[in-house]
């Protein structure tokens, strides 16, 4: 059942996001092209400043492309966030809730399907923006193909990793811990949003406003708790600073500790959301 829920959720989200992804990639290619045309033109030009019509038009083209690119990148992030909010609010707490909450599925399955699809879509949005930046850099470089060849050169990478192993022998573990932190951290923030909307749903009216209030309140509680732990960990570093590899130990401890905190946040927010939608559901 969870798989089926995710299937419809992906369909619903991708309907809006995939056109944006295509627009971002297309615009970054166009922008990259606009930067790469006439790259050597200035060098070969006799005059220091070219006032010809072609050059001015090209400048205009570059300007417009850069602006369009910037706009579409902003749209990508704003839309991803808005859609994640909207899929939960409209898909569960408004009229569509009448369909979803009468399906033979448990509320936790509904909530989980929302979280999984939102997470995957955020990751996709990040990947698309990375690809687009990569395309832009390629366009701005003087010899993109040569750079690209170097980028995919195995020897360069093996040199890089050899150096990395010398300087930071534990980099693999750091990377692993960091990726885990990003994943659980994303889920924790997603479910903080969901829990806030569920808490807002308890109000009789002004539910959206109450959701915003709930989000601010939970954020304040979180930063307060985080602050307390920060103070304690500062004291513990003071005591451990005499050890040889204190820095490394501290970094590991910090990463693992953040992972644990994020998992706790995620679980608490998930339970709040699930309990409210199971026991206190009251669709308008």
């Amino acid at each position: 059942m969870l798989r089926k829920l995710c299937k419809y959720e992906f369909r619903s989200i991708s309907r809006t996001l995939i056109p944006i992804y295509i627009a971002v990639i297309a615009l970054s290619i166009l922008t990259a092209i606009s930067f790469s045309i006439n790259k050597e033109y200035k060098l070969s030009s006799y005059y220091p400043v070219d006032m010809s019509l072609g050059y001015t038009l090209h400048g205009l083209f570059k300007g417009v492309m850069s602006f369009a690119y910037f706009a579409v990148m902003v749209a990508l992030f704003v839309l991803t966030a808005v859609i994640i909010l909207q899929r939960f609010y409209k898909g569960l707490l408004c009229d569509e809730g009448y369909l979803m909450f009468t399906l033979p599925v448990k509320p936790w399955q509904l909530i989980t399907s929302k979280g999984i699809t939102a997470f995957v879509m955020s990751i996709l949005s990040c990947i698309v923006s990375c690809i687009s930046i990569f395309i832009l850099i390629m366009g701005a470089l003087p010899y993109p193909l040569k750079t690209l060849a170097e980028f995919f050169n195995f020897e360069n990478w093996s040199m890089f990793f050899t150096r990395l192993n010398e300087v930071v022998p534990m980099w693999g573990i750091y990377l692993f811990e960091f990726i885990i932190l990003v994943i659980v951290g994303s889920f924790a923030s997603l479910y903080q949003i969901y829990a806030s909307m569920a808490i807002g749903h308890l109000a009789k009216k002004n539910r959206i406003l109450m959701s915003v209030v709930a989000y601010i309140a939970t954020s304040m509680v979180l930063s307060f708790i985080g602050g307390i732990f920060g103070v304690f960990s500062a004291f513990s570093i003071q005591n451990s600073i005499y050890y040889i590899n204190a820095g490394e130990v501290f970094l590991h401890a910090l990463l693992i500790f953040s992972v644990v905190i994020s998992i706790i946040e995620f679980v608490v927010f998930f339970i709040i959301t699930e309990r409210i939608l199971s026991k206190k559901l009251n669709l308008e």
């Binding site: 089926k4 369909r11 033979p104 669709l283």
Partner: protein, 235 residues
């Protein structure tokens, strides 16, 4: 043989300080068409929402087919709310796929036939349909299931008389005869001819629950007339 499909014992639902259902006790059997009758705010929608699990009772016990309300009862209940509940970006075929995916008792052929009768092509988008067509396509989906309990909340409110006939005929010709249909409405004269039983709700209380034949025999009047008497203002 246990023929009781819906059973409510001391069922109460309060919202903050408003009592929507007050200590309801009733049993509804299988294979019947039951009218849930009462003026606005009498608790009809609350009762239906409790049955399909959209609300949790404040106190009391409610069972469908001997089970507490949960995923098992949801899989045998076909519910038509009093509003649009399908995402408007769906196409008619997406909607059928959705119902077939989640409800094992969904009959896709039957749904196709009903859509064809309505003149809806599988690739038509819900968004482009008129309000009346949207209501009909929802009803077609609901009635294409071979459910044990159909819950229809105000299915004929706000539609023209021709559409009203279409809706009632669709219900009558398509419901699972071993199942029960509960129709909530305040438009009784239109619906009276199809009812086997009638439940009269007033301010969260059941004021009468009887078969339509009994009402006619004992009172010597139609359900509609009885309704007008029970819920008369300022008499």
């Amino acid at each position: 043989m246990n023929n009781i499909l819906v059973s409510a014992r001391s069922l109460t639902k309060t919202y903050q300080h408003i009592t929507a259902l007050n200590n309801i006790n009733l049993e509804i059997g299988s294979g019947k068409i039951v009218g849930l009758l009462g003026p606005n705010g009498s608790g009809k929608t609350t009762f239906i929402k409790l049955l399909c699990g959209l609300l949790q009772p404040t106190s009391g016990v409610l069972t469908v087919d001997g089970k507490n309300i949960g995923t098992q009862t949801k899989s045998v209940i076909s519910y038509l709310p009093d509003r649009m509940f399908i995402a408007d970006w769906f196409k008619a075929c997406d909607l059928m796929e959705f119902f077939a995916d989640f409800y094992s008792d969904f009959d896709k052929n039957k749904a196709m036939e009903m859509l064809a009768a309505l003149g809806i092509a599988p690739n038509d988008k819900i968004k482009t349909m008129s309000k009346g067509t949207k209501e009909k396509i929802q009803l077609a989906m609901i009635m294409s299931r071979k459910a044990k309990l159909y819950l229809l909340d105000e299915p004929i409110a706000g539609v023209d008389p021709a559409a009203r006939d279409f809706i009632l005929n669709t219900i009558l010709t398509n419901y699972n005869e071993e199942g029960t249909v509960i129709i909530s409405t305040h438009l009784i004269s239109d619906i009276e001819r199809v009812l086997d039983e009638a439940i009269f709700l007033q301010n969260g209380n059941i004021v009468r629950y009887d078969t339509v034949d009994n009402i006619r025999e004992q009172e010597g009047k139609s359900v509609d007339q009885l309704f007008r008497e029970i819920f008369a203002y300022g008499m």
